[in-house]
């Protein structure tokens, strides 16, 4: 990445010239830096400051006294699950959030690659048409996708229950099926801090619908850049379809899919809309994510100080996640250094 820019400065120039380069560069950067200083960096610093105070609604009014300093109390309130939000359990929310992002990304990549492979089969008809149809979910704003899927899982009027009624229900003459997918109180699975309610699977279904098409687009791009000679050579060596897949296709897909999967992990980890609009974090806060808790602290509780401390936890967690995934990505990359 840096090689491109480094090239500009070779051969080594005099100090005068270099400082002039720096001046030109900062002139180009000035507008963006000025705006970011005011609307990004200052709020971030301010965020750290109020995380040590008990800033809340009464400190918001103009001319209100400064919020009193409370030390690390906000941080310990979060760890002690003492932040007014009902059913909040920091470790459980964090575990669910990590599990949610991980399962989604794995499924998205597998389905996305599988469908890209189907659409890449030599001689398949209507390829362009199918690719155009499959891109549709990407074009719909996530906030609407979430609201639509909430309706799909409605116990009475939703498409899912009606489809079950219309097929299995009619066939076996069953009474109307009215399972409340998003509010079923008994979790399907409980393992230590990991609690998976039925709503998790409803959210997963919606996010799979939303997520695989973009992975498929990326995989298709990578597939089309694989030199055809490699396949011909493998075929001459007597390799069948699955062997060619293993020895030629998958190694070529990895450098494109891996960074994209890491990016997808961060996006899914912070995916506000599905949790908020589909399940509302329920049942009993079991499908809350860190982002929805963060939002509730500000919008519903007006606990700005606690929210700021919570955001710092969020930042540290994301930093650790990114460092780990980057390291994993580098360790498993076979080539493409």
């Amino acid at each position: 990445m840096t090689a491109v820019a480094a090239g500009v400065a070779t051969p080594r120039r005099s100090w005068r010239q270099r400082s002039q380069n720096t001046r030109t560069a900062y002139l180009f950067l000035l507008p963006a830096l000025l705006v970011m200083a005011i609307i990004t960096f200052y709020p971030l610093v301010f965020q750290i400051y109020i995380s040590f105070t008990s800033f809340d609604l009464k400190n918001l009014r103009p001319g209100a006294p400064a919020a009193p300093f409370v030390g690390t109390e906000n941080f310990f309130r979060i760890l002690d699950n003492n932040i007014v939000i009902p059913n909040f359990d920091f470790i459980r929310v964090l575990t669910f959030n990590l599990f949610w992002a991980f399962t989604n990304v794995v499924i998205h990549v597998v389905i996305g690659v599988a469908i890209a492979l189907v659409l890449n089969v030599n001689g398949l008809r209507f390829k362009r048409f199918w690719r155009a149809v499959y891109i549709l979910p990407i074009a719909i704003p996530p906030i609407i996708v979430a609201a639509v899927w909430r309706n799909m899982f409605d116990p009475q009027f939703g498409a899912v229950n009606q489809a079950i009624n219309g097929t299995i229900g009619v066939l076996f003459k069953l009474p109307p099926f009215t399972l409340d997918w998003l509010n079923e109180p008994n979790p399907i699975l409980t393992a230590g801090p990991l609690v998976l309610p039925l709503a998790y699977f409803a959210l997963l279904a919606a996010n799979i619908w939303l997520g695989w098409p973009l992975n498929s687009v990326v995989a298709t791009g990578a597939l089309q850049s694989i030199p055809q000679d490699l396949y011909e050579a493998a075929e001459m060596d007597g390799a069948g379809y699955w062997q060619r897949l293993k020895t030629v296709t998958l190694p070529f897909l990895r450098p494109a899919m891996l960074p994209f999967a890491i990016y997808g992990f961060v996006v899914t980890f912070n995916l506000f809309t599905l949790s908020y609009f589909m399940s509302g974090g329920g049942p009993f806060g079991q499908t809350e994510l860190l982002v929805t808790i963060s939002y509730r602290l500000v919008q519903e509780q007006h606990l700005f100080g606690v929210a700021a401390a919570f955001a710092i936890f969020q930042f540290v967690i994301l930093l650790v996640v990114t460092l780990i995934t980057n390291k994993l990505g580098r360790a498993t990359a076979s080539f493409d250094a």
Partner: protein
């Protein structure tokens, strides 16, 4: 990392075409062709079902009663008429909501591309003191979800007011807050694309006596149209559909509501009985502009999106 892939891409472009002409279709047995087509139809059905479902529901005259077929009997556009006249319980028309969303979208789009492209150019083409540090700083901000700084932004923008106008309670405030999260994305995305423009073009301009700024305007900007368009599109969509910041900042003033706030009022967790036909018509009208623009620009989107490291 980028250069070899470009070469590969141009190489293959020739081959599959010649192969298809010499009978790529022959290589697939009819049985396999049918099997794969059936799979494609099944996938298309799952993709299309929610879309057809919501459009069908928006045409349903019975508003909430159980739809029993995808095109309901007596389908009409009543729900659309209701939505356009008065989508929520507040006396705001759909046009007003859409105009507010449009204002937000245009402001964010212009701010993030306009401010971002110059910074992206500096990061891509210049060597200067503090470059690495500032790139890391921007990347770190990119990782933070918008919601993480919403409280701090709200407090600070509320302190800025002129007479009755309070920045923290206005659409302009929302636009600034969203820009704070869109700008790092815009810078990184555009830098990734500018990295792929050959340096020789610029050097030729410099030999002809052009200054850095002239080179930027005359050479780089015209060549980066795809990424400018895509970054603007992402800014536009981010503004058009923004919920969290808009809800926190302007929910108290219905005349400044956006489409996303109204959607939340329609189906939000406290709205017990949702009028589903009204909701469906609203969702269709909300999504349609984005879908049309997206499909028109589809070709450019993959080449113009570089943030995921797709292009290295």
């Amino acid at each position: 990392m980028t250069a070899p892939r470009v070469v590969l891409a141009t190489n293959v472009k020739v081959k599959p075409i010649s192969q298809a002409r010499t009978g790529g279709g022959r290589r697939l047995k009819p049985a396999n062709q049918i099997l794969l087509q059936l799979a494609c139809i099944a996938i298309a059905a799952t993709v299309l079902f929610p879309i057809v479902w919501i459009v069908g529901m928006s045409l349903d005259p019975r508003n909430i009663s159980r739809p029993d077929s995808l095109i309901p009997p007596g389908a009409n556009l009543d729900a659309y008429a209701r939505v356009i006249a008065r989508p929520t319980l507040n006396p705001v028309s759909f046009i007003q909501l859409a105009l507010n969303s449009l204002t937000l979208a245009v402001l964010i789009s212009v701010l993030s591309v306009g401010l971002g492209v110059m910074a992206a150019y500096a990061f891509s083409r210049m060597k200067f003191r503090g470059r690495e540090f500032m790139m890391l700083l921007i990347l770190a901000v990119l990782m933070l979800p918008a919601v993480a700084t919403v409280g701090s932004l709200y407090i600070n923008l509320n302190r800025i007011s002129f007479g009755n106008f309070r920045l923290g309670g206005s659409l302009l405030g929302v636009a600034l807050a969203v820009t704070s999260t869109q700008l790092p994305f815009a810078i990184w995305n555009m830098k990734g694309y500018l990295d792929t423009i050959p340096k020789e073009l610029e050097e030729a301009a410099v030999v002809d006596g052009a200054t850095k700024f002239q080179t930027f305007v005359r050479v780089i900007l015209p060549l980066s149209t795809p990424v400018l368009a895509v970054t603007a599109l992402f800014g536009f969509i981010a503004g058009w559909t923004e919920f969290i910041l808009a809800q926190v900042f302007v929910v108290g003033d219905p005349s400044q509501w956006t489409l996303a706030i109204a959607l939340n009022a329609l189906v939000g967790q406290y709205a017990g009985s949702t009028p589903w036909s009204t909701f469906a018509a609203f969702a269709v009208l909300f999504a349609l502009p984005v879908m049309i623009v997206y499909l028109l620009l589809q070709r450019w989107i993959v080449s113009g999106l570089t943030v995921g490291g797709v292009k290295g």
